[in-house]
Amino acid sequence: MTKYFLNYLDELESEAIFVLREVYAQFENPVILFSGGKDSIVLTHLAKKAFYPAKVPFPLMHIDTGHNFPETIQFRDDLVESLGATLLVGSVQKAIDNKRVVEEKGKNATRNELQITTLLDAIEENKIDCAIGGGRRDEEKARAKERFFSHRDDFGQWTPKNQRPELWDLFNGKMHQGEHFRAFPISNWTEMDVWNYILRENIQIPSLYFAHDREVVYRNGSWIPVSKYLVIQENEEIVIKQLRFRTLGDITITGGIESKADTLKKIVEEVSAMRETERGNRADDKRSETSMEDRKKQGYF
C-alpha cells in the first residue's frame, strides 16, 4: 500500500526546494552564501535537486575571513568545479588592506564582525538582490524569529521588530532599489536533521567533520586548532588530540570536540547523544547573551 504522507526529512527537503525555487523565480540575481560548512553544503545539494536536470542557477559566494581551514578551501573549489558554478569571493583581508575595516586587537580578537562589512560590500558590488543562507532557527535565539524571506533595508540591516508576516507558503520578496533579501530555505531544520539528511543522501563533506588527530590549545573551554593565524599565549600548551569539528568557521575561533567518530553514521550517533549546542564551541557567540542578535541587526549572515 502506498503511504500518502511524507516523512519529516522528505517534508523538510520539499519545503527547502520550494523556497529555493521561489528565490529563483522572484529575484534577478540571487547567490548562495557558501562557507564550506555543512549547512551551506546541504543548501547547495538541495539547489541541485531543486533545478535538476538544469544546473544550479545560483553562483556561490564565499565571505572569506582569510583565516580558513585549508581543507575548507579545497572542498569549496572542488564543489564549484563539479557544479560548473561561478564562485564569488568577498575578502575580509582585502577590506582590512583597503582600510574599510579595522582589525580587532587583543588576545580574543576575531574577524567575525569584520565579515559583516565584507558581506554587505560584496552584495552591493555584485548587485545581489537575494543572498541564500544556511541559517537555521534552532541555532540561536535571535535566529528563532527569522523569516524564510528576510528583508534587509538599504543599509543591509535587519529590523526584527518590523518583519514582514509570513503565512502559509506565500513569500513576499518585493523590495525597493538598494534593498536586498536573505533567504533561509533550511530554517526549520535542526542540527540533527542536517546530519540525518547528509547521511541519507550520502553528501560529501570536508574531512574536518570526521575525527582526526590535530595540534590544539585549550582556550575558553574549547580546543582551538593551531594554525599560522593563532597567537599562542604564554600559559597555553600545544597538545595533540583526536577530535572533530561540529561547525566550521574562522580557524582561530572554531573549537573542536574530542571524538572518535570517523564515519557519518558514528557522527549521527554522537550528535544525537550530544548534550551541548553546536555553537557552544564558537567564541563569537560567547561574548554576550545578545551577540548574535546585535550582529544580525547589522547585516550578519
Binding site: P53, K141, K145, W168, N172, R200
Partner: protein
C-alpha cells in the same frame, strides 16, 4: 522517494516512520504558555546543557529558587526586557515518534496578526486556560483564530491544576464552558487535558494527581494525533513555480514544470487541464531529482513534463480535467489586516495567491469581527491593524482558487501594498 540502501537500517527506519507535526500555542502573559513550552522542551530532553546552564544562571540572578522554564523560550532583547513575546518564534523538538515545530505566538489582542501567522501552517493548536479563571475573553479569541485558519485539531490544556487542588469538578466545569463557547465555531476535533506546566502534571508524564483523568498526557497526544487525512488528497492542484529548461545537449528537449503539489495526487498519464489557458494535455513524466516516479501527492516538490508543447509558466496551474478549481474575479474572503496603515478605500493591492500575482481592490467591507465577543460589526467599515473582516475583492484577472475550507494552499492569499512592498493582509476564500 524511496530511500536507498546506503543508509543503515535503523536510521532508515527511524526516519521513515516519523512525521512532522506543526503546532501553535497562543497565550498571554500569565497563562503559563512559555512555561508549558519550556516544560515540553525540558522533559523531552530537547534542551542542551549549555542552554540549561545559561537559564540557571539567569534564574539565580533573578532570585528564583528553581529554574524558570519560561526562560528557555526567551527571544529578542526587547522581549526579555518587557517579559513578553512580540513576534512568532519557532521552536523545535523531536521525540522517537515525531518531529515537532512549535509556532510560539503572543496572545494579546494587539498581536492578533502574529497569532494568525502562527496558525496558518499549524496542524494542531494548543489553547491554554488558567484553571482558576476558566474560559475568558482570550480563550475565545484564540479558539476563533484557530477555527478561522482551519486548524483541524485543538487541544485545550486546562493549566495550573496545582492551584485548584487538581479538582475534577473545576476541570469538568471548564470543559463545559469551552464546549458552550466553541459550539458555533468550525472545529473538527477538540480534546481536553488537565495539566500543570509548572509541576509537569500530564505534560510529558501521566500525573498521579489526576487519577480521574483517563486519557493521554499532552506529549503522547501530540505524538499520536492523526494528521495525514487533514491534507486534501482529492483535488489535484499543481501551481507552476518555474520552468526548468536545461541547456546541455542531453536534456535539450526537457521542459519541466517545477512546483510543489498543493492538493491531491498526480499520476503519469493523467489527463490534465492547464489553467488559465484551458488547454488539455497528459502528464508525461514526474521526477524528483534523478528519480522518475509514477505518482506524486500533496506536499511533494517535483518537476513534471507534459505530452504537448504548450505555453505554460509561473502563475499557471495544472489540474485534473475532471476536477477544476473555481475561476473567480469577484471574491468573498475573510481577511486579517497586518499593517499600521489602515486599508485605503479602493486602493490597489497585489494579491499573491499560490505563484500568481494579480492586482486587486477591496471593494466592500461587509462586516468586521470583534475577536473578543465574536459579534459582527456591520457599521464599522474601516480596516485597521489586527482587524478581521469579511470583504469583497475584485481582481484584474481571474484567479483559480478553492474555498479555504477545502484547501489551505489554494484558498489562501496575501495582499501586498504596491508602494511600500509590505504584506498588509492575509486572506481566505469563503
Amino acid at each position: 522517494m524511496e530511500n536507498d540502501k546506503r543508509i543503515p537500517k535503523q536510521v532508515r527506519n527511524s526516519i521513515n516512520n516519523n512525521q512532522l507535526l506543526r503546532f501553535t500555542t497562543a497565550g498571554s502573559v500569565d497563562d503559563g504558555k512559555s512555561t508549558l513550552i519550556g516544560r515540553l522542551l525540558y522533559d523531552s530532553k530537547s534542551i542542551f546543557e549549555d542552554q540549561i546552564a545559561a537559564v540557571e544562571k539567569t534564574s539565580k540572578r533573578k532570585g528564583l529558587e528553581t529554574v524558570d522554564l519560561a526562560l528557555f523560550t526567551d527571544g529578542l532583547r526587547d522581549e526579555r526586557e518587557q517579559g513578553i513575546t512580540i513576534d512568532v518564534a519557532y521552536r523545535y523538538f523531536t521525540t522517537p515518534k515525531r518531529k515537532f515545530i512549535i509556532a510560539d505566538t503572543p496572545g494579546h489582542v494587539q498581536y492578533t496578526r502574529n497569532m494568525v501567522t502562527g496558525a496558518s501552517t499549524a496542524n494542531v493548536a494548543i489553547v491554554l486556560i488558567d484553571a482558576r479563571h476558566g474560559v475568558i475573553e482570550q480563550t475565545k479569541r484564540h479558539s476563533y483564530i484557530a477555527s478561522l485558519l482551519q486548524i483541524s485539531h485543538i487541544i485545550v490544556c486546562v493549566n495550573k491544576m496545582d492551584l485548584v487542588d487538581y479538582s475534577e469538578e473545576i476541570f469538568n466545569d471548564t470543559v463545559r464552558q469551552y464546549e458552550e463557547m466553541s459550539s458555533k465555531m468550525m472545529i473538527k476535533d477538540v480534546r481536553y487535558i488537565p495539566i500543570s506546566a509548572l509541576k509537569g502534571d500530564n505534560v510529558v508524564n501521566r500525573s498521579q494527581n489526576t487519577p480521574w483523568y483517563q486519557n493521554a498526557p499532552l506529549l503522547h497526544t501530540l505524538e499520536t494525533i492523526h494528521i495525514t487525512s487533514d491534507n486534501n488528497m482529492v483535488d489535484a492542484r499543481f501551481p507552476v513555480q518555474t520552468v526548468l529548461r536545461p541547456q546541455d545537449e542531453k536534456n535539450r528537449d526537457y521542459r519541466g514544470y517545477a512546483g510543489t503539489i498543493a492538493g491531491g495526487i498526480f499520476r503519469v498519464g493523467d489527463d490534465v487541464r492547464l489553467l488559465p489557458s484551458g488547454f488539455n494535455s497528459k502528464i508525461k513524466t514526474i521526477n524528483v531529482y534523478e528519480d522518475y516516479v509514477d505518482q506524486a501527492f500533496e506536499g511533494m516538490s517535483v518537476a513534471m513534463t507534459l505530452e504537448d508543447d504548450i505555453d505554460l509558466s509561473r502563475g499557471d496551474m495544472i489540474v485534473k480535467r475532471n476536477n477544476l478549481p473555481e475561476k473567480v474575479q469577484d471574491l468573498s474572503a475573510m481577511i486579517c489586516w497586518f499593517n499600521d496603515d489602515s486599508a485605503r478605500p479602493r486602493a490597489k493591492y497585489i494579491l499573491k495567491h499560490t505563484t500568481n500575482e494579480p492586482i486587486a481592490m477591496i471593494k466592500e467591507v461587509e462586516y468586521k469581527v470583534d475577536v473578543n465577543t465574536l459579534k459582527r460589526l456591520e457599521d464599522d467599515k474601516e480596516i485597521n491593524m489586527n482587524d478581521i473582516c469579511k470583504v469583497k475583492i475584485r481582481t484584474t484577472a481571474p484567479v483559480m482558487m478553492d474555498e479555504y475550507s477545502r484547501n489551505r494552499k489554494t484558498g489562501s492569499f496575501i495582499l501586498i501594498d504596491e508602494s511600500t512592498n509590505e504584506t498588509v493582509a492575509a486572506g481566505m476564500l469563503i
